[in-house]
């Protein structure tokens, strides 16, 4: 077996909680937005990262690319730890890393500059990375636009002239400009209409096949995750609670939270059995329950769950579960 292309180990992002005092402010505690997250992604694979709002999935993705500086942890791309490279003063080294791993943002309305033509937006990475000779840029932009299902003539148009789906194609073209090996897609279809979603999901899959890309696909929409991912990691309050092959996870969830999350999705079938919904709400990240963070809502919680933090451990067939009493 070859080494994973992406290897995240002990990633952590904490935010201090400050209380303003008469003179300055003092730290009162910390919010652990991402708490000791580890996973590896194989070449050509798509790993889905799912969870509800505040679970830390987007912060994990951003910390991997140093869009928010991680508090601790290693992120290895092809075996090289990129955290110090992205944080360091060596701009050339940081750019070299960024050519290998790129980000597709959730909102194609907010992530494109409204005053730049689409051509300029897609060309910007060439300028920043001093990619190919400038004379070739325009031709490359045309190629990229066609690669994502747009036309070369679209380069002269502005974001407001495009629909949401087309804008997301522009965002993907921009991410692909520097020929990355890994693409981090943060809710790339969540703001799109149902009939357009399938088009963008198909585009992502065909690009993956044609360019041999590796994806980390972040979403709260489990339907698209089931379609596109090979493996899925489920997060709750900053930690991965279960990680498994997609079909195994959807068919036989072992963690009680994964099970509840899957049960909660309304399926498009009027005859479907409706499960008793999970009670309670997501605890605040500031008042994280002791032991297992999910125990306050878990139907199987026992005394041990309050005392001991469950470790994410192997549960057979490559599956990892963090639960004292898995299903």
């Amino acid at each position: 077996m070859s080494a994973p292309i992406l290897d995240v180990e002990g990633l952590r992002k904490t935010y201090p909680v400050l209380r303003r005092a008469l003179l300055g402010a003092r730290t009162e505690g910390e919010i652990r937005a991402v708490d000791d997250v580890s996973f590896a992604v194989d070449r050509g694979e798509c790993l889905g990262l799912v969870g509800e709002s505040g679970c830390g999935k987007t912060t994990t993705a951003r910390a991997m690319l140093h869009l928010v500086p991680p508090t601790a942890g290693r992120v290895r791309l092809d075996g090289v730890d990129i955290v110090p490279l992205l944080a360091g003063a060596d701009r050339a080294a940081a750019l070299r890393v960024r050519r290998g791993i790129q980000y597709v943002f959730q909102d194609p309305y907010l992530s494109l500059n409204p005053r730049w033509s689409v051509g300029r937006t897609v060309m910007e990475p060439f300028r920043v990375h001093r990619h190919s000779p400038a004379a070739e840029w325009e031709e490359r932009v045309a190629e990229l636009l066609e690669l994502v299902g747009l036309e070369a003539v679209h380069a002269g148009r502005f974001p407001h002239e495009f629909s949401g789906g087309q804008r997301q194609r522009v965002g993907i073209a921009r991410a692909l400009a520097v020929s990355p090996r890994v693409l981090i897609c943060d809710e790339p279809v969540s703001s799109l209409d149902v009939s357009v979603r399938a088009q963008i999901l198909n585009l992502l899959v065909s690009l993956q096949d044609r360019l041999g890309l590796t994806y980390v696909y972040i979403s709260h929409d489990l339907a698209s995750v089931r379609f596109i991912s090979n493996r899925v990691a489920v997060m709750y309050l900053g930690r991965i609670v279960e990680l498994a092959e997609t079909e195994a996870l959807f068919e036989h969830p072992r963690h009680h939270y994964t099970h509840a999350l899957l049960q909660a999705i309304p399926v498009p079938d009027p005859g479907a059995r409706v499960a008793e919904p999970l009670g309670g709400e997501l605890p605040s990240a500031m008042e994280r329950p002791s032991g297992c963070a999910f125990r306050t809502r878990c139907p199987a919680a026992q005394a041990r769950c309050a005392a001991e933090v469950p470790v994410l451990g192997a549960a057979g067939d490559g599956r990892l579960v963090a639960c004292h009493y898995p299903r």
Partner: protein, 329 residues
């Protein structure tokens, strides 16, 4: 039996650069007693505007230009302002998509809910507070008295939506309009709110129009479903028929193109897609509005606008390929 709400030929227009854009163009739907009608569609289909038009709350400069809204023996489009005001929130109430925006941030929960009872039922403050506490309890808020003293920003998203539901149900309305009531909520909270709405509707015997883009939510909640596309209703039927035996090509394509969490994609690398995009209503395609994206469209679909046809009791479809008559535009 006459339905509780009967909307016929509804049309809403926006002035855009000197010309008029029809955002809703001849929409019919009806809601029976104790029935939930799901209105589904993508953005711009007119589902939200249709529900707002029932209460004559379409945001200016949009205005209702045609149609009738039959409700309890009146045409709501012809009611005077005072009687309309007495009806809003009392006989027909609304639950909005974003509970954070639809609550008044500077009034406590108790004050803004009590105000409604003072207005509609002239209840003295103490009596109103009791009724509010009872209703909060009914929507699953356990410490109602403490919550009534709190302000919206002190509540979680799910809790705010519970307050909005309590507000809508305060005067025991005959009809509740719920516009994407769970779209902004997390999956596990959405499941709680959907269960609550279902349970309350049964207990209080009210009818509901549920506006949503989520086919899973309508499958779970609706008795009957109207599928909207580009300002028109293309198909209406009971929920089972819409999902198991849909007739309109758009309904079929929508169901097939949607990724599903309850389906295995092992070995499947391609989803079916609806080609093209949602039409711009300032320049809608002539004839059937779905024809540019329709796999079955013929030459007549480009020219003729399909009229609704009842193909089976309660199953209405507007499609020339399914036998609808067409009118030239």
């Amino acid at each position: 039996m006459t339905p509780l709400l009967d909307v016929r030929g509804l049309a809403v227009q926006f002035p855009v650069r000197g010309s008029d854009v029809r955002a809703i163009d001849g929409v019919d739907f009806a809601v029976g007693r104790q029935e939930t009608l799901g209105l589904v569609g993508e953005s711009g289909s007119g589902k939200t505007l249709s529900s707002l038009a029932v209460l004559r709350l379409v945001p200016p400069p949009a205005r209702i230009v045609a149609g009738s809204v039959g409700f309890e023996g009146n045409d709501l489009l012809r009611l005077d302002a005072a009687r309309m005001g007495a009806l809003r929130g009392r006989r027909i109430a609304m639950v909005f998509q974003n509970p954070a925006y639809s609550l008044n941030p500077i009034l406590s929960v108790g004050a803004q809910l009590g105000e409604i009872l003072g207005w509609h039922e002239k209840l003295p403050r103490r009596r109103a507070a009791e009724r509010v506490a009872d209703m909060l309890h009914l929507v699953g808020i356990t410490d109602a008295v403490r919550r009534m003293r709190q302000f919206p920003h002190e509540l979680s998203g799910g809790m705010k939506q519970r307050v909005c539901i309590a507000r809508a149900l305060l005067c025991h309305p005959a009809l509740v309009l719920a516009d994407e009531p769970t779209t902004n909520l997390d999956a596990t909270i959405q499941a709680q709110i959907l269960e609550l709405l279902q349970e309350l509707k049964q207990r209080l015997g009210s009818s509901m129009i549920l506006v949503t883009h989520d086919m899973g939510v309508v499958a779970r909640m609706a008795d009957r479903i109207g599928v909207m596309y580009a300002g028109t209703v293309c198909e209406t039927a009971d929920a089972a028929t819409i999902f198991r035996a849909p007739l309109h090509p758009y309904t079929r394509a929508l169901l097939e193109s949607m990724p599903r969490a309850d389906r295995s994609y092992r070995g499947h690398r391609v989803l079916q897609v609806i080609p093209g995009r949602i039409p711009n209503l300032a320049d809608p395609p002539p004839g059937c509005r779905f024809h540019p994206r329709c796999p079955e469209a013929g030459a007549d679909c480009r020219r003729l606008r399909p009229l609704p046809l009842e193909v089976a009791p309660g199953h209405v479809v507007s499609c020339l390929r399914r036998g609808s008559d067409g009118v030239a535009e």
